[in-house]
Subunit: 247 residues, 2 copies
Amino acid sequence: MDQLNEPTGKTHATRALIELRKKILDGELAGGTRLFEVPLAEELAISRTPVREAMSRLAEEGLLDRVRSGGFVVRTFGFADVIDAIELRGVLEGTAARLAAERGVSAEQIATMREIVHKLDACFGEVPGDVDFETYSELNESFHHELAGLAGSEVIRREVARVSRLPFASPSAFSPDLGDIAAFRRSLNLAHEQHRAIVAAIAAREGSRAEALAREHARAARRNLEHVLREDRSLIDQLPGLALVVD
Amino acid sequence: MDQLNEPTGKTHATRALIELRKKILDGELAGGTRLFEVPLAEELAISRTPVREAMSRLAEEGLLDRVRSGGFVVRTFGFADVIDAIELRGVLEGTAARLAAERGVSAEQIATMREIVHKLDACFGEVPGDVDFETYSELNESFHHELAGLAGSEVIRREVARVSRLPFASPSAFSPDLGDIAAFRRSLNLAHEQHRAIVAAIAAREGSRAEALAREHARAARRNLEHVLREDRSLIDQLPGLALVVD
DNA sequence: ACCCGAACTGGTGTATACAATCGCCTCAAA
DNA sequence: TTTGAGGCGATTGTATACACCAGTTCGGGT
């Protein structure tokens, strides 16, 4: 599921996939829009075959729905769906954390997690709000990536990855572009404390605690989303994958 | 996601989809087997195009994996994966139940659930083990179907449906074919008590309890699986979708 | 006015020829 | 022995023509 070959577009189908995905995420193709093969093929200057291939993959990603009579429509996402997708990620990461704790993880795995946490520590400077945002964002992604696989279950890892593929539900949804906002920088301290606690709970085989912490950790994304909605809706367009959301 | 047009096969692609799915679930195509378009097309007496379409859909279902260099392989499922898929269904149904309780459901929805529970009651006769298995199985499916949508979240409903599509993880995995075994028939009393309790918890807006009950309810499937593995492995071939599992 | 069916339109479904690519094998040179 | 270039066969990628299906419209008979 993570081997969706996209070296920035080798085949026509891959390029079509990337272009279409971009248009959907940018909101250029509104939810509910039916995608017709012929016009799309003309627009992309390719034949219908790779267009179909691309649409099929987008259906796998959950950005398109197949319609009964054939063809595809752009899936509609409202803010409620974004909230639910974030909740779902929390639930699944929570399950990954719980199972990791219950089933036990190797010393190497714990060491890996602790190293990531340690490197994340180093992102924070003396004064609150002084954060190496770029590095934090990368390490945060590593943390969540590792966590998904920590239970040693391919089934779980795959489903966590799947829901995280929706850009607005991904663990790094609010990371890369909100570095300017002081409030977000400061909230990172709390989030990172949760990173530390999750690892500790897993190491101590406290499954229920690990699960609860991972769920609460995902709530940070929801709080950020709600902040954006309440305080500064102009940020919506800057956040990747939030442009397609309608309400 | 539930509109996978399969009126038993109108188009070649649909027939190919059904045939391939059957072969995978029956274990005729072992996990790891690479599926080549040309031989498959010849075998099914159709062209490559609908074969690709069918494989693409099977990838969406999670029965095939795409490989980097193009093409598909049959996904491998071990018993550990079955366990995890059942666990995952429990987690997701638990989330559906919790959110339904937390967010509240309409009187009509509760009435619908209670009606299903009531009809399920009627499946049980005077003596333990006297069960209308056929009807129970159908109603059980309705119960789980309704539960998935009870939170009013399309995102949740869709993901519950998705994991339930793997036949060995579905709520009715052990229903239709185990009616003979007395032990299973008796265990149904317990399972049905859980149905009743889940509805009661949701109605009382006891989210945590509803979640825990739904999770535990899914464990019944796991117990049945483990029973089959321990006591009577010959049943494996009779259970739908368990033939593909290797360990 | 009403019905019914033929033709048309707009879309996907399918077959097929050909192009591009990947993996592997060979063979030669370091 | 290793390594790298080259070629070759197997397999997927792509274009395109045509088939087919479902609405829809239009016409004619009643």
